[in-house]
Amino acid sequence: MSNSSIAIEVRQAMWSRRGFLKAGAGLLAGVAGLNALPVRADGPYRIVVVGGGFGGATAAKYFKLWGQESGLDVAVTLIEPNAKYSSPILSGMVVTRQLEIDRLDFGFDRLQDVHGVSLLQDSVTGIDAVGKTVTLSDGSTTVAYDRLILSPGISFVDVEGWDTDKVPHAWSGRDQLQLLTQQLADFPEGGTFVLKVPAAPYRCPPGPYERASTVADYLRANNKNARVVVLDAQADIAVEPDTFHALYDDFGVEYYGNIQIERVNSGDAEGKSKSITYVTLEKDIDGTVIGQSAEQTIEADVINLIGDHKAADLIFDAGLNDGGNWAPVNPLTYESTVAGKEFIHILGDAQGTPIVKAGQAANNEAKVCVDAILRTLGGDSPYATPIVTVGCSAPVTQTKVNWAGNVWRYNDGTLNMEKVAGKFAPEPTEANWQPMLQWAHNLFADSFG
């Protein structure tokens, strides 16, 4: 493959510059030399960020970095209930026991100690968009803001009988990840594993298909002689169908499309006797439902029910969803477009632009939002044609890794974001393993470091 050898040369050329440049460093003025101009008469400009995931952590960090660079005195408070954030990115490796769960825990020390963000370990239970305050979990303490940034992630549409303490989604949060990992570690020989793929839009489009193939390979490698079933809300595998159908054929995974879950039996006190009941929808060429099959039930030892998504509860509680499942925003600033919700910005999976729901997207949306707010504070206008670049990479088997890249750009005709470039790895390879770790490491460090 001659392509890769060209890549080596380019990359080596980049590295060799590193030593050379160090010699010249230090000639330029330091950031700290700039004076911070107070932008409010009675103190710094108050930014409150809710949610310490990829969107929120990045926003908090960049407000401090760029605020200082722009000479603006910005006080940033990050509100997050967990002492550490558990990254869903690379969590598939935890499920298949190729990575310790704590390696994906990221605390907020660097945000506090290096960047000067104040941390409140708490949750926000209410927002007063007029008085510009948020209420904390005790129901009475309030925190005032000049701008409020929300990146609270997702919640799940309910399914009859679904108890997430027994039937994990493992799509958000450390406890869920631990639960699925444990259930698979205890998987009985000859057992059945069922995975439900949610209806779009959902977090990380290739993710559910990857999880099914990695779990199938993991169970196979551990001689579990398992039955693995994928129940997909989509008519067919929505992402890289050829790659995943080939993997599923290889691992004997049963795949069914157009599935609608009717209910789930989450099992007895010990979590045994679980089952999932569904129908297959019949659709015409436009995708309109014209009928459905009789109900079918699969008894399973482990069910990974990745339910249909909606924005986190806070978005609904605060009336930021405007009747839908996501928060509508202006993609130049990520400010809510709901009347009366000025000065509230929503990032990441919870917002409703067409941008793919991904951690890297949340990171980049945060930068667009921070830049726009600081520019506005400085008497300028937001940058007019922002880009959001997204990369995803994850194992699809015990050894092979896939990647996908997308670029989204603001379209000033539609006033929305649109995808202008997108591509998947031609095939999953072992060679992608190290680049995946390097990519993720940089993303983690840019967001939390």
Binding site: M1, N3, I6, A7, V10, W15, L21, A25, G26, L28, A29, G30, V31, E69, G71, M93, T96, Q98, L99, E100, R103, L104, V114, H115, Q182, A185, N222, N363, N364, D371, S381, Y383, A384, T385, P386, I387, T389, G391, Q398, T399, G405, N406, V407, V420, A421, K423, A425, P426, E430, A431, W433, Q434, L437, Q438, A440, H441, N442, A445, D446, G449
Partner: protein, 146 residues
Amino acid sequence: MNSNLKKRNMKLGRPAVLAVIGLSLSGCLDSSGSSNGDDEINSGIYFDISSVDYSAVSVDASAADLASGARLLAAQCAQCHGTYGVAVREWPDLWGSGRQIGNWMSQYQDVNYADNMMHVHALGYTDDEVNLLKTYYPKIAYSGGQ
């Protein structure tokens, strides 16, 4: 073809990490009974997020005068190439680079790089936007270790 790619990875990564991944994979394959707890995993994979020394980053004061979009577009590179283009692990830095960014972006736009995530990202940028990147990164210097 595979050996070529392997070679690239040995150079990109830390050989020690590769070796440990090999071990953990075979550990997985060998284990037959149920396994509980992280103590049985030994991935050797760590994501240290504290390696960039921000006190060693300097931003030239003239960066404030750059055209709207320069800082923001440059920051869209940072999630893979590090905040201010100071990358972690063995991965290309961008700080300090000007004309080279233009060269790299046009090289990566080439169809020959199709099996590379950077290809698709390079395709997303117009020439004007690449020019903005070229104005920003020369303003950044880094004197720390990594």
